[in-house]
């Protein structure tokens, strides 16, 4: 396993490289101009990349927060004695939400919510909900029965069992679900630009519509880098959560 300090250094380096890519995109103009002499200008310019990134990140953050809050609330509910009977139903609903393509959600949501960020937020929230829910349930149910019995036997109230035992032990699994959900959302958010949301998908869609390949490459490169960076960030948080297990060996 890499040392914690080494992990921090490589994350900082990756973050710096990402910022450089965002702000120094115009510097790549000669490169793109040589590869694609027909495209003028060679770099997407209608909106700056830092601004596109901020808007993209905002939509992903909002929808991921909403999906996480909903998945936590419902996942905790169906693992309580009172909610156990709703577990199968909720699982089925979440699976349906996952199987409807985000594009279809957008098509349905636009007439109701109009163009822009809002239908994208709805689509991403629905789509990001299942991976988190699945991990909330798996994480809580993965708490060893003996640990739960000991907690109850010592007089922890149901809320204390949840707060002090189940959630901390499930946290690494739940975080893994959020990580998957966020990384998927970062990629999926790009299609929001088909309905007018400002995201890193905007240059991609523009490039596809007007047949300007460099814009597609530029947008895709930033999105991919963003996803990798987010994944690294979650990896670091996850490692901190599992600190107690790391004192092994």
């Amino acid at each position: 396993m890499r040392s914690r300090r080494g992990g921090a250094a490589s994350f900082a380096a990756a973050a710096a490289a990402f910022l450089l890519l965002l702000y120094a995109m115009p510097a790549f103009a000669p490169l793109f101009a040589r590869a694609f002499p027909d495209v003028r200008p060679p770099i997407y310019r209608f909106q700056s990349f830092p601004m596109l990134f901020l808007s993209h990140a905002e939509i992903v953050a909002a929808s991921s927060l909403a999906a996480t809050a909903a998945a936590l609330a419902l996942g905790i509910f169906v693992t309580r004695p009172a909610g156990r009977e709703f577990r199968a139903l909720l699982g089925a609903l979440a699976a349906i939400g996952q199987s409807v393509p985000p594009v279809a959600v957008l098509a349905i949501a636009v007439p109701v919510l109009g163009y822009g960020a809002r239908p994208t937020f709805v689509a991403l929230t629905l789509y990001g909900f299942l991976p988190i829910l699945a991990n909330v349930i798996a994480g809580i149910e993965g708490v060893p029965a003996a640990v739960r019995e000991a907690a109850q036997g010592m007089g922890l109230s149901p809320f204390q069992v949840l707060r002090q035992v189940e959630l901390p032990l499930a946290a690494p699994v739940i975080l893994a679900g959020i990580r998957i959900s966020v990384v998927i959302s970062i990629g999926t958010a790009t299609i929001g630009s088909t309905v007018g949301a400002v995201t890193l998908g905007t240059p991609i869609i523009d490039g596809l519509v007007s047949d300007k390949l460099p814009y597609v490459i530029e947008g895709a490169a930033v999105v991919a880098f963003f996803a990798v960076l987010a994944d690294m960030a979650f990896e670091r948080i996850g490692r901190r959560l599992r600190a107690y297990a790391e004192n092994a060996a």
Binding site: P144, A145, A146, V147, R148, E149, A150, A151, Q152, G153, M154, G155, L156, S157, Q160, V165, P168, L169, Y244, A245, N247, A248
Partner: protein, 309 residues
């Protein structure tokens, strides 16, 4: 004092506990013994209400347990289980501090109590308090489990096959330490086990359960000398009852003072079964006895063992 009064637990249409009545006086160690599925654990778990009663009543010092808020009840009762159930995300010290923390003890008092309990369970506080469960052996984990149960100084300790998952040597060592802790603290202990030898060795009262009922209860000696029926006789080990009786008596009880004998002396406090074993190995019928100070005070004679048993 714990009183169980006609306690019944129906599960899936079956009476897994079928009218159990039992009195455990304050300070006594009661072993619930029986084969798997006899209803021992269910009976135990009804005392701290982890399992609801279908009928009957359980009183602790005269108070019906169902009239006390369940969390308050459980914080007054130490609970140890076979699978231990240490919280893996907490250190040893934090595990032990669970109930004191729930009760809102000040930090210094918790720290002092934690260290005292670690020492009581023979774990050096300085090297163990900051470890996590997965860094301990099974025996050490259960020591922490026992310390955790004792943390808030409960009047009652419920133990559900606490040493069942440990190797025989660790099991015997922890059994002996539990007997010692019981002698020092005089806690009221209910101890579930299927290990008859352990029960006979450490319990004041043995209750033998079979198919949800108590078939016999009494002092270990009573049960060995007067087994109620064939099931009990079989369960306590029909062929070896004589040896087990000897194991419950001390050399001092059968000693002939002043009688001389050859060879290495046995301790006055050792069980008579040990003296018999020594006689067999040394091919002799008498062995000298020494007192606690090491002075030879007499001898134990084979014929007396047979007569006394």
């Amino acid at each position: 004092m714990i009183e169980l009064d006609g306690v019944v637990r129906v599960y899936g249409g079956r009476r897994v506990v079928d009218g159990v009545s039992l009195v455990v006086p304050t300070g006594a160690l009661c072993a619930l013994v029986g084969s798997s599925g006899a209803g021992k654990s269910t009976t135990l778990r009804m005392i701290n209400r982890l399992v609801p009663m279908s009928a009957g009543a359980i009183r602790i010092d005269g108070t019906d347990v169902t009239t006390v808020p369940v969390e308050a009840l459980r914080r007054r009762i130490g609970y140890v289980i076979q699978s231990i159930g240490l919280f893996p995300h907490w250190t040893v010290a934090e595990n032990i501090a669970t109930v004191p923390r729930l009760l809102g003890w000040p930090r210094e008092r918790i720290a002092a109590r934690t260290d005292a309990l670690l020492a009581l369970l023979r774990l050096d506080p300085d090297s163990y308090r900051d470890r996590y469960a997965h860094q301990l052996s099974g025996g050490q984990q259960q020591r922490v489990g026992v310390a955790r149960a004792l943390a808030a100084d409960p009047e009652i300790l419920l133990m559900d096959e606490p040493f069942g998952a440990l190797d025989p040597i660790t099991r015997d060592a922890l059994g002996a330490e539990l007997a010692l802790i019981h002698r020092e603290t005089r806690k009221t202990i209910v101890f579930v086990t299927h290990d008859m030898d352990m029960a006979l060795k450490i319990a004041d009262i043995v209750a033998i359960m079979h198919e949800g009922r108590i078939v016999q209860q009494g002092a270990p000696l009573d049960i060995l000398e007067r087994p109620a029926d064939d099931f009990v006789r079989e369960f306590v080990g029909r062929a070896a009852i004589g040896l087990k009786l000897l194991a419950l008596r001390h050399v001092g009880e059968s000693m002939r003072p002043g009688l001389a004998a050859a060879g290495e002396p046995v301790d006055e406090a050792a069980p008579l079964s040990e003296a018999l074993s020594q006689m067999v190995m040394r091919r002799t019928d008498r062995i000298p006895v020494r007192d606690a100070e090491g002075a030879v005070t007499g001898s134990v004679v084979l014929a007396d063992l047979v007569r006394r048993a």
